[in-house]
């Protein structure tokens, strides 16, 4: 047999090199010892996180910030089960990561061996695809298949579970030159006829509305999106996953639709006669009551995943394809029929004025108070410091919604958040991955006092690598979103929503060898944030904010998105 004789561990590393992997986030264990031993001689950087879940999140952070495949590694049993949340999270948000897990020796599988878990079975539904490798000779093919599946089509997580004997076994390595997965069909081109119909529908629309999602970011279609927005001159919403797809300061951008979307966004979607849905999946948090979502609109839906088209809403113009390629083609078609632009331009001009009026009527504006720092005030200050350029990795909850509403992103891949799964604990480890990917960038980890404590061990990783992540705790002393729902829908019976203890941030950061502080005076907020940013290393800034602030607008569950609650009920005057 020809090829270079090497161990399975070496083969895995060789494949990672060929896939241009620069960094692995992981945690070693018993059965991955042979792999970690081989890694000792490898130029690939390994970052030792403090919990496997955070390895998956850090790999996501790396991927979300760059578009490249993130890699994480964990041992068998508990190592693999700890990865699961990060994998499912990547699945929900279509983030390409490859997870390598160790498995007990193939002869021991099924014997309830030490640290054995059925990783292949457990991760089946939480990954785009997964593999169990028991034979060293299969490793090269499977490793490259894993990267191919993760990064093409609708991206997603792929797990490769490798037995200890496959890591240790020797085989003849031969480079993989072609990948043959006959059942893995990726449709990128889009149907020519449907794309022409889409172009025609756009020129015919009187009240067109662009609804852009995470697919724009994944496909790198931001430039094409902007071209479409400007050619049609249509108002545009970006979903939580699509923020940065169109620059946040673009005049046509009217923020996010849905449960905590802007008034203008939800009104415009409701009144539109054409909804141009690009790389979105009509998530329930966006649509509210489905029957009342964009009720007057004809829908063009572009998505690379055939199962998404027609899953929630049957589009009049379905297009399965890569949204970048499809937009290029639609733009060509639109330019070829530019004379049709005049047909309904007058109606569209009136529509734009209407949308601007809605925007003025209820703008997303930070409310300020002289007595306490309002969460919105905090986000506005971060927005000012970022200038649309910083990476913001958010945790999950109220702060996530305020950040999404008030921080503007001028580019894609700056706003990193757990959209679909909504995993608390996401913010800090994802910021770590992003900072490794983009050492040139200012990276904020914005966390609530709840989510931060879920990934608090990663302060060690941050300190370890002197990562200059700016950790901003929006500390309201509560699980804010839980408290908000309990207040609004459960008669304010605050059950298990109060977080009574929070560590002293100065001492906490100090214990890890970096700086931390608390700010609670609104007049000192700006200086405190500036000091944190100026600090060359990491910084933990605990911002004590008003506890009982609610996120508005809010579409109550089961309501139509134009039935927003715009603010707290006004106090009733008693005569």
């Amino acid at each position: 047999m020809s090829g270079t004789l090497m161990s399975g561990s070496q083969m895995v590393l060789e494949c990672l090199m060929r896939e241009k992997v620069e960094i692995i986030f992981g945690y070693p264990g018993g059965v991955t010892l042979p792999f970690y031993d081989a890694m000792y001689d490898s130029p690939i950087k390994h970052v030792l996180v403090r919990h496997e879940q955070n390895a998956a999140f850090a790999a996501q952070g790396y991927s979300r910030a760059t578009g490249k495949v993130g890699v994480c590694c964990a041992t068998s049993g508990p190592g693999a089960t700890n990865l699961v949340t990060g994998l499912v999270d990547a699945m929900m948000d279509s983030i390409p990561i490859v997870a390598i897990t160790g498995q007990v020796t193939s002869k021991l599988i099924g014997s309830d061996a030490f640290q054995e878990a059925d990783t292949f079975g457990i991760t089946r539904s939480g990954t785009k695809h997964n593999f169990l490798v028991k034979d060293v000779n299969e490793l090269p093919r499977i490793m490259h298949e894993a990267f191919h599946i993760a990064s093409t089509g609708r991206p997603g997580p792929v797990l490769v579970d490798i037995t200890k004997d496959a890591f240790q076994g020797m085989g003849h390595y031969q480079p993989v030159t072609s990948i043959h997965l006959p059942g893995y069909r990726v449709y990128t081109e889009g149907h020519a006829g449907q794309m022409r119909r889409a172009a025609q529908a756009m020129w015919e629309a009187k009240r067109p509305m662009i609804y852009a999602g995470g697919g724009i970011i994944h496909a790198g279609a931001h430039a094409e999106l902007q071209e479409l927005v400007e050619l049609l001159d249509a108002p545009t919403v970006c979903t939580l996953m699509g923020l940065g797809g169109l620059p946040g300061n673009h005049p046509n951008f009217i923020s996010m639709p849905g449960m905590h979307g802007s008034y203008a966004a939800n009104m415009a979607v409701t009144e539109a006669d054409l909804l141009i849905a690009l790389g979105v999946r009509f998530d329930d948090r966006v649509t509210g009551r489905l029957a009342a979502f964009a009720p007057h609109a004809k829908v063009i839906h572009v998505d690379i995943d055939p199962a998404e088209v027609g899953k929630i809403r049957n589009p009049e113009v379905p297009i399965v394809g890569d949204v970048k390629k499809v937009l290029v083609k639609i733009l060509e078609d639109m330019k070829a029929t530019i004379a049709d632009k005049a047909i309904n331009e007058a109606s569209r001009a009136a529509w734009r004025e209407q949308v601007v009026a809605w925007k003025r009527e209820h703008p997303l504006e930070p409310s300020m108070s002289p007595d306490a720092i309002k969460p919105q005030h905090l986000m506005a200050e971060i927005n000012r410091l970022s200038g649309g350029e910083a990476i913001v990795s958010s945790d999950v909850g109220q702060h996530q919604m305020w950040a999404a509403q008030l921080i503007k992103f001028h580019h894609p891949r700056l706003w990193l958040n757990s959209g679909g799964l909504g995993s608390m604990g996401f913010g800090l480890p994802t910021a770590i991955g992003a900072q490794f990917a983009r050492p040139d960038k200012l990276v904020f980890a914005i966390c609530g006092d709840g989510g931060f404590q879920m990934s608090i061990p990663e302060l060690a990783t941050i300190a370890n690598h002197a990562l200059p992540v700016k950790i901003i705790i929006m500390n309201n002393g509560y699980l804010g979103m839980i408290r908000q729902w309990q207040e609004l829908f459960y008669n304010n019976r605050l059950s298990q929503a109060k977080l009574d203890t929070f560590p002293n941030p100065e001492k906490l950061a100090g214990a890890y060898g970096f700086k931390g502080s608390t700010v609670e005076n609104p007049n000192e907020l700006r200086a405190a944030l500036e000091a944190a940013v100026k600090e060359p290393g990491p910084y933990l800034l605990n911002v004590k904010v008003a506890s009982f602030e609610n996120v508005y607008p809010m579409v109550p569950a089961g309501s139509a998105i134009n039935e927003m609650v715009l603010g707290p009920p006004q106090p009733v005057e008693v005569a």
């Binding site: 910030a65 191919h148 059942g183 069909r185 496909a219 970048k324």
Partner: protein, 180 residues
């Protein structure tokens, strides 16, 4: 509603689990499932009958087609297809009934595959309703034990199998663009 799905899939460990997992994750109950290899030993043909909410039939097929191990999933509930099931049935009977049982079996196109002093083992194929009748009739002769294969089906339409061509490693284009 009961949906009949025919799948052509890779004969690999875990492939079955991916298909059934997709159904169980949605809380759908599988009525019957058969799977066996095809002319190509690397491939299996699976027929599933599953109770699916009517508006989800399309979605289920689409999700199955997304599975890496599945080459083709098609809905045979309505389309032109031959649907058959096999039943193996053991009937205990008194000596005086034996001739009647064999006569009755003949009407259903069933045949005896084993005979003993206790009774017969019979084999019948047909559509499920016909087999239900057959089983009912046999029950009237004595104690029976039944194993049904579940529905197997073959489409009568020539559906073009769309397969992904091999991808050459070096010609592979990055699908995602680098950061701005």
């Amino acid at each position: 509603m009961l949906q009949l799905i025919s799948l052509l899939m890779e004969n690999k460990p875990g492939a079955l689990m991916r298909v059934t997992g997709l159904l169980s994750a949605r809380g759908y109950n599988i009525e019957s499932l058969t799977v066996a290899r095809t002319l190509d030993p690397g491939l299996s043909r699976m027929s599933i009958v599953v109770d699916v909410e009517p508006n989800q039939c399309m979605q289920v097929i689409k999700q199955m087609n997304k599975l890496v191990n599945v080459l083709q999933a098609s809905d045979l509930t309505e389309g032109a297809a031959v649907r058959r099931e096999l039943v193996l049935l053991r009937v205990r009977s008194q000596m005086q009934n034996r001739t009647a049982i064999l006569k009755e079996a003949e009407i259903f196109g069933a045949r005896a595959v084993d005979s003993s002093v206790e009774g017969f083992a019979l084999e019948a194929t047909g559509d499920p309703e016909k087999l239900d009748e057959f089983i009912e009739v046999m029950r009237s002769y004595g104690e029976i034990e039944v194993t049904r294969s579940g529905l197997v089906a073959v489409s009568l339409e020539n559906k073009k199998l769309k397969l992904a061509p091999p991808v050459h490693k070096d010609s592979e284009v990055e699908s995602s663009s680098p950061a701005a």
